[in-house]
């Protein structure tokens, strides 16, 4: 399905300074039983957001009223584990447009890009400083400019450029997806098969 266009985003951010956040934490397997792609945001980080008795876990950052915004800042190796695209759907459905980390798991990164969720890889030092800044002042804003491939924390006077595959960048800027591309490859694929 076509993806939403992404240009520039300025937003406050939610900090999750934990490493190796795997896709089972992002969306536990028991919530993968839907046959339609909707409502996954309700169960984003389900077992961290809620206590065993179903009540809200006030210690978890998504339940902390100080923090809001459409940027998730996470510890390194975010999205490891399962290939379930439901993880990217849940993050997007919850209202995030960008995930910032110093390192992403491969399949998660691909799944995110295929759904209009931009994974931004920053240096360890940018990540640490950003965690500190948000924890000190929850109104700290980050600006992500896809065209310029930069992420900026103006309050800190900190800016970094990030890498993105040029093809994927074009897809996000224009709201195209790979299926549109592959549909137009029909005759190339048929000639490949005849080889």
């Amino acid at each position: 399905m076509p993806i939403d266009k992404f240009e520039t985003l300025q937003s406050t951010a939610i900090p999750l300074p934990i490493e190796n956040v795997d896709t089972d934490q992002i969306i536990p397997a028991r919530f993968l039983k839907a046959t339609e792609r909707k409502g996954f945001g309700d169960n984003l980080f389900r077992d961290w957001r809620y206590q065993k008795d179903g009540s809200q876990n006030d210690d978890f950052v998504l339940n902390d009223d100080r923090y809001s915004g459409s940027i998730l800042v996470a510890g390194k190796n975010f999205g490891s584990g399962s290939s379930r695209e439901h993880a990217a759907w849940a993050i997007y459905d919850h209202g995030f447009k960008v995930v910032v980390s110093s390192f992403f798991a491969d399949i998660f990164k691909g799944n995110a890009l295929n759904n209009g969720l931009l994974p931004v890889v920053v240096s360890e030092s940018f990540l640490e400083k950003t965690f500190d800044a948000i924890e000190k002042d929850a109104t700290t804003k980050l600006t992500v400019d896809l065209e310029a491939q930069t992420i900026t924390n103006e309050a800190l006077g900190l800016s970094e450029s990030f890498e993105i595959n040029p093809y994927k960048k074009e897809c996000l800027l224009k709201g195209y997806d790979d299926i549109d591309y592959l549909i137009h490859m029909k005759s190339d694929i048929e000639s490949f098969e005849k080889k």
Partner: protein, 465 residues
């Protein structure tokens, strides 16, 4: 000609087009699907007014949601039942081979594919499941994909992917008694960490790897994803050809001879360069067990949990969080810790060889009363073999009962869940928080370590029992 790695040979032969500044359009020979990651992809192509382009190259079986008892009755969980029925309906609408509950060929998708002969050397194979890496054991490029990519394969039989880097993991020497393919995997992941393979495709080689059976090779390749790699592969050899020959969907007659000649060429050229290399000595590998909440947190079963004193920042926060979840403390010894559950099964260790190893170990012994054990075959074929070989009787005499095939307590999408706070020695592939049920504490290990724990009720070195 420039010498090439096995990976490069197969990948390059499947690139339909290199997109300028972008990924490769890669042709897919075999697509496996199951009930969890396919429904949205089917809806996607239907919304575009399309049919599955190459239904003959896709094979389906439901595995994640299926119960492991009373499979002859309707699935009780309504959502699970609906998801399985949706797969069956979609396959019927699109002309896809479907092995449903009740079929003699039903099972976990990564067990069914190889045993039916769908998985062959030199192929590109994908499935909306990260453990698709299993099929690399045959000398194929096999990896997990997301649902958008499942839809791409339905649409075009291709996906769009950047080419990964290559990594060699060479294990030379002879494995000691009691050390299995699972221990090689857990050892390598502990060395590499859970993210050390990210961006790479692994080729496993060396005499210890060559000595493994096909089933051991599948176990090893299955776990490749747990160090972050896209997949793992092993060059095909006589072990591979002997396994594939005669299987229902393997080439026959002249087609077999032709295929065999091609498959024999599938190896890394001498002088080919990998982007990274790791060399391990088989003699250093012992039975392994994990103590934390990712598969990289593993130690020798004889070992202790690390002290963690060298960690700082988010590393320290993550390590402490992990031990707190597990109810362990830094420096603690693994041996002798009481356990509550044992799970033998999954796409990692649910094959006949795993059941044979477990049964041979428990033969003549008795299960500890304190332990609940779930022995789950990977497929109906494995179940039948276990019955015919008398393994079921051995298991029953030792106090175990075999269940029916499925993913089961590997990820607890069915009713097989480990209760919160309980310890489970599990032959599956992931020990993430809540993986086997909310609050469950998973210790990954080989079938032998699982068998030893099932007998004693505590973490035990199988070599000492």
């Amino acid at each position: 000609m420039q010498p090439k790695t096995l990976f490069d040979k197969i990948w390059d032969a499947h690139v339909v087009k290199q997109v300028e500044g972008g990924p490769n359009v890669v042709y897919i020979d075999r697509h496996f699907i199951h009930e969890v990651t396919s429904p949205v992809a089917f809806t996607g192509i239907e919304n575009r007014g399309l049919k599955v382009a190459r239904p003959a190259q896709t094979t389906a079986t439901p595995d994640h949601n299926v119960p492991t008892i009373e499979q002859d009755k309707p699935i009780k969980d309504e959502e699970s039942r609906f998801q399985v029925e949706t797969l069956e309906k979609n396959c019927s609408n699109h002309g896809i081979q479907y092995y449903g509950l009740g079929s003699q060929n039903h099972g976990i998708v990564h067990v069914v594919g190889p045993e039916m002969g769908y998985t062959q050397p030199g192929m590109t194979i994908v499935c909306g499941d990260s453990h698709t890496s299993t099929h690399g054991a045959f000398g194929s490029i096999a990896f997990g994909i997301g649902t958008s990519e499942v839809e791409m394969v339905f649409t075009s039989q291709c996906i769009m992917q950047p080419k990964p880097k290559t990594m060699l993991i060479k294990v030379d020497g002879e494995l000691s008694d009691g050390v299995t393919a699972k221990d090689i995997a857990l050892y390598a992941i502990a060395k590499l960490t859970t993210s050390g393979g990210t961006g790479y495709f692994i080729e496993y080689a060396g005499s210890a790897v060559e000595s493994l059976s096909m089933e051991g090779r599948m176990t090893l390749c299955n776990m490749s994803i747990e160090c972050g790699a896209r997949g793992g592969m092993i060059a095909p050899d006589q072990t591979t050809f002997d396994y594939v020959e005669g299987r229902p969907f393997a080439p026959k007659g002249e087609a077999w001879d032709k295929a065999l000649a091609e498959w024999k060429e599938l190896k890394t050229d001498s002088g080919a360069v990998y982007d990274a290399e790791f060399h391990y000595d088989a003699a250093d590998i012992t039975p392994m067990i994990t103590y934390g909440t990712n598969p990289g947190m593993g130690v020798s079963v004889q070992g202790n949990i690390p002290s963690g004193t060298d960690l700082e920042g988010t590393d320290k926060i993550s390590f402490e969080k992990s031990l707190e979840y597990m109810g362990f403390s830094a420096g603690q010894q693994m041996l002798g810790h009481p356990i509550d559950y044992v799970f033998v099964g999954s796409c990692t260790n649910g094959r006949i060889e795993d059941l044979r190893a477990f049964a041979a170990f428990v033969d003549g012994k008795k299960k500890a009363d304190s332990v609940t054990a779930w022995i789950v075959p990977g497929s109906k074929v494995v179940e039948k073999q276990a019955q015919e070989e008398g393994l079921v009787e051995v298991l029953e005499a030792a106090g175990f009962k075999m269940r029916e095939p499925g993913c089961s307590a590997c990820l607890a999408m069915n009713d097989d869940k480990i209760p919160a706070g309980k310890y489970s020695v599990s032959t599956s592939n992931r020990n993430f928080e809540g993986r086997q049920g909310p609050g469950a504490r998973t210790l990954l290990a080989s079938p032998l370590v699982a068998a030893a724990a099932a007998i004693t009720g505590v973490i035990t070195d199988p070599r000492e029992l």
